[in-house]
């Protein structure tokens, strides 16, 4: 029996195990939407802006390890997806973005809502397709999911002209994939593993830098065994938080620009760095020329192009982290690093990472930490971008994989709310806290309607400082306190929430924090808390941009610290 392109698309999605798609309808996807009711297995979440569809699909993908699917019409629908696709690309989240395109005879004619979305997205996708023949559609979907979900995951876009959606052909879902140019190295080279083990066995001051690759590879047990067996302290990238229990004695917290003093000092003084599933982003390394000056470097990653890209690597091991760590665990020796660990404890003591200054003011660090305590860490935290993101990263102790979801690489304000929706839909049994910036929240605030329409029970904590806070902090510290265009006039967020049928409360004082969090948790649905925090609170420590990680500022000691170098 012949099927239309739209039916073939839906059936292919079902074959790929898709359950939820996020999108907005429009002329160039009408045939697909018209077909959706035939497939009740596909839940469609109607968002209020396509950026929300992409971030939601991204959040969903990160917590489920399945490609998130978003859909948009041609032209403006497709361009609205771009930020969300770029975010998924930077953070290696699997995504399949489907866009409608004008009918084939109109392509290249600047037709109404014609935009070359495959051209636009080339630099921000793992791959993309323009389907010009309905006979290619099933194969294309199959390839797209394969590419998005395997190796180093990433977004794949499929652009489908409207007439291809309507054209008919026989539906056969292929079971083989023929991609001669797509190779994944899954097992590390035995010789490299041997060399890495030798370095690990000989190291006196080793440090692991744990990235999101560990979480993507679902290698937590192997990783924990690895770190414990050779007694290797673990520093995390922002996205690597949760790959190792944050309350473990070997855990140093996050490194980098807003990393803990302990993590940064350990990395700068290491004689061996074992970088796992991370890519030496400049926010993590600081000045690369002065980064970990005495360290030899082992880099384990599935993407060969990451090796040597930013930091010279002595021993690269290319492969899937789970398999590489399994192999390494066989050959590394059980070690103890007594002196090194006591030095680390010294730094931990000197630069306490969870310390919150004594104050009557409503401090964001305090709020985040209270959310951590109230949930006993058993929550998924989705952050915005800026100070709120860093407070969320630093004052909640992440003990489980995927417990923090953040747009780390792209840093798109407005990620928080739609991503939290996707996370909640992906993990409905989990409590999801959206830690939002008052600025970022207003970039995707319209998704409150989606939350109500689809009954998505996320808890929203706005860190309302009345500023584009992170930029204000830079103005304060690096631009002579000239606050140019960072002060925000804000609406009443509680009233806004009410207008969307979401209950909320405003919190101005410290004593109100715990009851408010409790109230949000007890409420069965979505709930918003507008925390009116200390407006000019900063996130510390901070390594000024372009400086060595050893030169971090702390609030109490505003001069540059880091005496080792």
């Amino acid at each position: 029996m012949k099927k239309t392109g739209a039916q073939i698309l839906c059936e292919s999605l079902i074959k790929e195990g898709v359950e939820v798609i996020y999108g907005i309808i429009g002329g160039a996807v009408l045939p697909i939407y018209d077909t959706l009711p035939q497939y009740p297995q596909l839940r469609h979440i109607l968002v209020r802006h396509e950026q929300g569809a992409a971030h939601a699909a991204d959040g969903y993908a990160r917590v489920t390890h399945k490609a998130g699917v978003c859909i948009a019409t041609s032209g403006p629908g497709a361009t609205n997806l771009v930020t969300g696709i770029a975010c998924a690309y930077m953070d290696s989240a699997p995504m399949v973005a489907i866009t409608g395109q004008v009918a084939r005879p109109f392509i290249g004619k600047d037709a109404f809502q014609e935009i070359d979305i495959t051209g636009i997205t080339i630099p921000i996708v793992k791959h993309n397709y323009l389907v010009t023949d309905v006979a290619e559609l099933a194969k294309t979907v199959k390839e797209a999911f394969h590419i998005a979900q395997t190796g180093r995951p990433g977004p794949v876009l499929i652009d489908i002209p409207r007439d291809v959606q309507q054209e008919q052909t026989d539906f056969v879902y292929p079971d083989k994939i023929d991609l001669p140019g797509y190779k994944i190295v899954s097992r590390g080279h035995p010789a490299q593993i041997k060399k890495a083990a030798k370095l690990i066995n000989e190291a006196e001051q080793p440090v692991i830098i744990a990235g999101r690759g560990i979480i993507i590879s679902q290698a937590y047990d192997e990783f924990k065994e690895f770190a414990e067996k050779a007694q290797l302290p673990v520093a995390h990238t922002l996205l690597g938080l949760g790959s190792f229990p944050g309350n473990h004695i070997l855990d140093l917290g996050m490194l980098g620009m807003h990393g803990t003093g302990c993590a940064n000092m350990a990395v700068q003084n290491a004689d061996l760095l074992i970088a796992i599933g991370m890519r030496f982003d400049d926010r993590a390394t600081g000045n690369t020329g002065e980064f970990a000056p005495n360290a030899r470097v082992i880099h384990i990653d599935i993407d060969p192009a990451e090796i040597g890209k930013n930091i010279p690597t002595e021993i690269p091991v290319v492969g899937d982290i789970k398999s590489v760590l399994t192999a390494l665990n066989e050959v590394i020796e059980r070690r103890e690093h007594v002196d090194w660990l006591s030095q680390i404890e010294q730094w931990r003591y000197e630069y306490p990472s969870l310390e919150i200054r004594q104050s009557d003011e409503l401090l964001p660090q305090y709020i985040v930490h209270r959310i951590y305590e109230a949930t006993q860490g058993d929550a998924l935290v989705v952050t915005g971008v800026g100070q709120n993101q860093m407070w969320a990263a630093r004052y909640f102790v992440y003990t489980k994989p995927n417990s923090i979801i953040s747009g780390g690489g792209l840093g798109p304000m407005g990620f928080e709310l739609p991503a939290a929706m996707g996370v909640k839909i992906g993990c409905p049994e989990k409590m999801v806290w959206c830690v939002a910036g008052d600025g970022g929240f207003q970039m995707t605030i319209q998704e409150l309607a989606t939350i109500t329409q689809e009954n998505i029970a996320v808890k929203i904590a706005i860190m309302n400082n009345g500023y584009l806070g992170m930029v204000r902090q830079w103005q304060e510290l690096f631009y002579g306190r000239r606050y140019v265009d960072t002060k925000l006039w804000n609406p009443d967020f509680v009233k806004i929430a009410e207008a969307y049928d979401i209950p909320g409360i405003k919190v101005k004082r410290r004593e109100e924090v715990i009851p408010a969090i409790q109230k949000a948790m007890d409420y069965p649905g979505a709930f918003l808390i507008d925390f009116l925090i200390e407006p000019e609170e900063n996130i510390y420590p901070i390594v000024p941009p372009g400086e060595s990680l050893a030169r971090f500022f702390e609030p109490s000691k505003p001069e540059v610290l880091g005496g080792q170098f």
């Binding site: 590419i147 001669p180 140019g181 060969p304 192009a305 010279p312």
Partner: protein, 163 residues
């Protein structure tokens, strides 16, 4: 590390948009390419691309690995260190009058180049060889006023029976 010219050859799928993906990658990662030439290969459906990249060996290895990540790129090799044959073709239109014509033809002969078009005021010369040869000929012809030049950029294969 020092910047040198590297010759990369790649087998790429012969599909619409592939060249765009490759060009986009070079631009976005600020790779410095000197030439790029593509044409069909011995495999149906696959083209062979030769590109000359300038950089130190770490940078060029980055280029190679980033190219290999493209789904439509099947294989990329840096053959700079290998024994290879490289060729380039150039068409050069040079001003020629009755008094200079024979001198130009002599130069063309020495380079085993060909005259492929004769017009009242000009000659068009076709030359193949490595870049040095093309550059030398071009240098000599400049004395006669070169009107137009079109060069293909380097194509290359490794020598010997292996592949």
């Amino acid at each position: 590390m020092t910047n040198t010219k590297h010759t990369l050859i790649a087998l790429v799928e012969d599909k619409p948009g592939v060249l765009n993906r490759i060009a986009s990658l070079f631009r976005r990662r600020a790779f410095n390419i000197q030439s790029l030439a593509v044409g069909s290969s011995e495999h149906p459906g696959l083209s062979r691309m030769t590109t000359v990249v300038v950089g130190d060996s770490a940078q060029v290895e980055q280029v190679r690995k980033q190219l290999e990540k493209l789904i439509n790129v099947v294989k990329v090799s840096d053959i700079t260190e290998e024994n290879m044959v490289t060729r380039e073709l150039a068409l050069i239109k040079v001003k020629a009058s009755a008094s200079t014509r024979s001198e130009i033809m002599q130069i063309v002969d020495i380079f085993r180049a060909n005259i492929v078009d004769v017009a009242p005021g000009s000659l068009t010369v076709e030359v193949t060889g490595d870049e040095d040869k093309v550059n030398s000929l071009l240098g000599l012809l400049r004395d006669f006023d070169v009107k137009e030049v079109s060069r293909t950029g380097r194509i290359a294969l490794t020598r010997g029976s292996g592949s």
